[in-house]
Amino acid sequence: MRIAKETVEHVANLARLYLSEEEKAEMTEKLNSILDYMDKLNELDTSDVEPTAHVIPIKNVFREDVVQESLPLEKALENAPDRDGNFFRVPRIIEE
């Protein structure tokens, strides 16, 4: 087992997920079995191989800085789960 339950808990926190005890056990088991398969990749010597992040040569794309139409405020806010006027409402993050 390369991943212990503690690692699963750590990664879940990084991913901002709560996992039930049952989910933790299942996740530990399934991630371990998937990662065992990933060992296949170590059969390949890739020391001299460049990584491919993108298949087509990507370069920065620039455009003129011109004013364009943007999403109307009301449209941008209409999917908000909680709003206050023209703001998204979130729990307090600054101590009083």
Binding site: R16, L17, L44, V55
Partner: protein
């Protein structure tokens, strides 16, 4: 006349001659949906009122010079449609109504395509069977006990069951081609960068591509014409001219060289599927093409590299679902972190969580080099295999999937077994190549998909070969026996 059975080009001829109206056609499709979708369950959302309005508008304008004008279509539910719910088959986006159109959606609307509704999929396109939808599983019109494939299972099933004239899907590791193969229709994943991804809800950004699912190859070319092209809103879309793909539709493959990689024809592939692919190769040979066995040695590694790269990109892309700006927020929470965690834990399904976890792990400190970097290097090797092959061959011929559509529930307990379904399609995404799946036979009454893989931006060659094959065979003329359910 059964209007719902028409292809795009057939419907277009009738619309142009004013023998039918777009409204009649649209009504016929809603009628068909009402008759069969209880069983097939291809659609999540229907948009009847607006669809009828669009069709009447097209009729009123009366200009049917463009082949897509007035044609009813279905759109996968991860492609944003302005003012029409787009859920990605996830609880976390169950109420999301996009304030804008994806570029593909607006391109269709410009031509007065009639969008009938949005189709079911595996949640966030993560899956190969459409069983991972948070809402319900879609069924294969050829056998309602079987899956339609995935993740664009709703789109493929809707086309196969004649619930739309064509559909739009997306393909990250086979999500257009595999369901098209399972449902006996035509599906194409264009070259990476050929179609704008703006407004496609991101799964794995370096692999995702939107493409057509249609009843025949001619329709595939027509839809590709309409959706391909550079887009300022997607900096990874290629600034390369778009040819007229319908000009490729000539039944002529004389002198073409076809490579059949042995790695796609081994033990993991059902014997009947291997036979069907070899039979297809002989059909090409009879038409004057030449084929031989080749080797793409890194094929089996592509699958495992994919299951690092795609989850890694997904874990980053899905970080945006935080319950703040859109989507569903958990009802009760103590603080901001608790809000994030509750929202995400309640909103995501099991497979999505699994991939987020796998991706977060692969990108986390201490593991990045061992997994993510290693996978990207393997990706280079996979791509090199294809580059070498394409120095000698015009296209590569392989199965679309190792089996025909499997039974609902058959693979849900074992993610590894489910992942194997994409073994023939994933390398194509890893290398960014175009691939098309079309019917080439049946096994136990279920359709077999034939996949043609082309050079980057050489959709014309695979369209031409696919068209030639279709003209020489009758597989595409078979229809599933799904009839009006009383």
């Amino acid at each position: 006349m059964e209007l719902h059975k028409l292809t795009i080009h057939e419907a277009h001829e009738l619309l142009k001659k004013k023998e039918i109206s777009s409204e009649e056609l649209t009504k016929a499709l809603f009628e068909r949906i009402k008759n069969v979708d209880d069983k097939v369950k291809a659609f999540i959302t229907l948009d009847e009122e607006r669809a009828l309005l669009v069709s009447r508008n097209a009729d009123k304008k009366g200009d049917f010079s463009h082949p897509l004008t007035g044609i009813p279509a279905a759109v996968k539910d991860n492609i944003c449609t302005k003012d029409l719910k787009t859920t990605c088959s996830s609880k976390i986006l169950a109420n999301f109504v996009p304030p804008y159109d994806a570029t593909v959606s607006s391109k269709l609307k410009t031509r007065d395509v009639v969008v009938l509704g949005k189709t079911n999929m595996d949640e966030f396109a993560m899956g190969s069977s459409t069983e991972n939808s948070a809402f319900f599983a879609t069924r294969n019109p050829w056998d309602l006990e079987r899956v339609p494939g995935g993740s664009s299972g709703g789109s493929a099933a809707a086309v196969a069951a004649d619930e739309c004239i064509f559909a739009i899907g997306s393909d990250t590791g086979g999500s257009i081609r595999q369901p098209a193969g399972y449902c006996g229709v035509v599906g194409m994943k264009p070259t990476y960068g050929r179609v704008s991804r703006f407004g496609l809800v991101a799964y794995a950004s370096s692999l995702d591509q939107i493409g057509p699912i249609t009843k025949d190859v001619t329709d595939c070319a027509i839809v590709l014409n309409a959706i391909a092209g550079h887009d300022e809103m997607d900096s990874t879309s290629a600034d390369i001219p778009v040819p007229d793909y319908t000009e490729s539709l000539k039944p002529d493959v004389r002198g073409m060289k076809i490579g059949i990689p042995k790695e796609y024809m081994g033990e993991g592939i059902d014997a009947e599927i291997r036979d069907a692919v070899m039979e297809a190769a002989r059909t090409f040979e009879k038409m004057g093409a030449f084929f031989e066995e080749i080797s793409l040695p890194h094929t089996e590694y592509a699958l495992w590299a994919y299951y690092i790269i795609a989850p890694a990109e997904a874990s980053s892309n899905l970080a945006r679902y935080d319950g703040i700006r859109y989507g569903v927020r958990a009802k009760e929470y103590d603080d901001l972190i608790d809000l994030y965690k509750k929202t995400r834990s309640e909103g995501f399904g099991a497979e999505v969580k699994r991939r987020i976890m796998l991706g977060t792990y692969a990108l986390s400190s201490g593991y990045y080099d061992a997994y993510y970097l290693k996978a990207q290097k393997v990706r280079t090797l996979v791509k090199r295999d294809f580059d070498e092959a394409f120095k000698k061959y015009d296209f590569i011929l392989v199965p679309t999937a190792p089996t025909v559509a499997f039974k609902i529930g058959e693979n849900t307990d074992d993610p590894l077994k489910m992942y194997m379904n994409d073994v023939c399609t994933i390398p194509v995404n890893m290398a960014g190549l175009p691939g098309i799946s079309l019917p080439c036979g049946f096994s136990g009454g279920m359709p077999i998909g034939l996949q043609l893989i082309g050079k980057p931006f050489d959709e014309p060659t695979i369209l031409r070969a696919a068209y030639a094959f279709e003209q020489a065979t009758d597989f595409h003329k078979n229809k599933p026996g799904i009839e009006v359910i009383e």
